[in-house]
Amino acid sequence: MSTVRVLVGTKKGAFILTADAKRDRWEVIGPHFAGWELYHLKGSPADPDRIYASQSSGWFGQIIQRSSDGGKTWDVPGGEKMPEPYDPPAGGSNKFVYDVSPETGRPLTTHQWYDGTPHPWEFKRVWHLEPSLTDPDTVYAGVEDAALFRTTDGGKSWQELPGLRGHGTGSSWQPGAGGMCLHTILLDPGNPDRIFIAISAAGVFRSDDGGKTWKPVNRGLNSQFMPDPTAEIGHCVHRIAMHPARPDVLYMQKHWDVMRTNNAGESWEEISGNLPTDFGFAIDVHAHEPDTVHVVPIKSDSEHFPPDGMLRVFRSRTGGNDWEPLTKGLPQRDCYVNVLRDAMAVDSLEPCGVYFGTTGGQVYGSADAGDNWAPIVRDLPAVLSVEVQTLK
């Protein structure tokens, strides 16, 4: 029988929730890495027992953790063996250094600060880890200040893909309220050379050569906080999502506006339709229905909670514009939590399961594509990310 493993990153540790295919009884294991911020955990599609985690702290910086047994035990790649007596350092599993070498890198120069003044590039943390679809030892990492890194040795060492930060528009990128983060990485399952990434606040970028070169793909986006609201660069994209069977169609939750592209980002159209507010963070696509999309509308950019204190997931079965509220099992009064950009995911069972975590520490799950919801856990630390593994 299939099982589902939900990987939850929180402000104070990681939790792993498991259930069988009925998804009605859950085992909760954790906290792993108690006291640290876990921005993201994700399993390898090529080896589901291989899981990577981004562990960070304002005090002690960035750590990458890796499990090879489905999250039971963890090690820092390259640092797991105690040297005897004192071998040279094993490597740089937690070392994310921008490539400024004349041979392969780009000068760091500056990006824009909130007020438009130049600001030097500074590494803060890893926001998102995206394991390769085919190789358990290859993982992409999206970091703050925005850049894309890759490991090909299971996380022991990381190298920047400098063509993104240095492709020409980096000096006009600007941080969103959460920092200047590269938060989304989408790998095209049909084309190993195609990668999409998204940055707050720069926009969406696409590579068609495996990450060597990049182009911005933001035509059709409109952001009123920019001097030129339709400029190619500067949009605060909160999240993009893809259905693997239709990788040219992307859905986007922008700072304001829910958007869709049918041509791999060459042009975008708004699909906010009848949503009560088109601000939000999370967006994801049904595992079996490429036109079924879920979002969690949030009141505004200053009021980061659901409108009217009612926690509602909205679902479109038409690829956008027509949205229905999903409320059964979700609090419909006095609810003022947020759902962050990486905190929604789906399983691939039938019917499709949908999961999301809140800043109030709840993780909600639905085993019927959102028709009915129930809390899996209610009292975790603030949830930063939710990923799901469907295990056969």
Binding site: G35, W36, S57, G58, W59, F60, G61, Q62, I63, V76, G78, G79, E80, M82, P83, P85, Y86, D87, P88, P89, A90, G91, G92, S93, N94, K95, F96, V97
Partner: protein, 98 residues
């Protein structure tokens, strides 16, 4: 042997209980102690000092024999009591926030 007390988060990361003991080759300075610590425990790279610059992380402090050595240069010799192991060298997370 030199004794080093790590903050709880770093002890857990390094898989150690209690104090860390180190043998430092050559003069015992702030820099050579930290070099040896990172060589012995590679997972601590970047957690006490920044990568590349090797400067102390902003929210980390160094105490020894009742003195704050956080702002000393790397080549600063450590007190004899640290070099002989009579007193531990303390790596402390600054008390700010939670």
């Amino acid at each position: 042997m030199i004794r080093v007390v790590l903050p709880p988060h770093l002890k857990k990361l390094a898989h150690v209980d209690g104090e860390v003991t180190l043998h430092v080759e050559g003069p015992v300075t702030l820099g050579s102690l930290l070099d040896t610590l990172e060589a012995a425990y590679p997972m601590l790279h970047g957690t006490v000092r920044y990568h590349v610059t090797l400067k102390r992380r902003a929210f980390v402090r160094f105490f020894a024999c009742g003195e704050d050595l956080s702002h000393q240069a790397p080549e600063t010799p450590l007190p004899d009591a640290i070099a002989t192991g009579a007193e531990p060298f303390r790596v402390v997370g600054a008390i700010a926030g939670g």
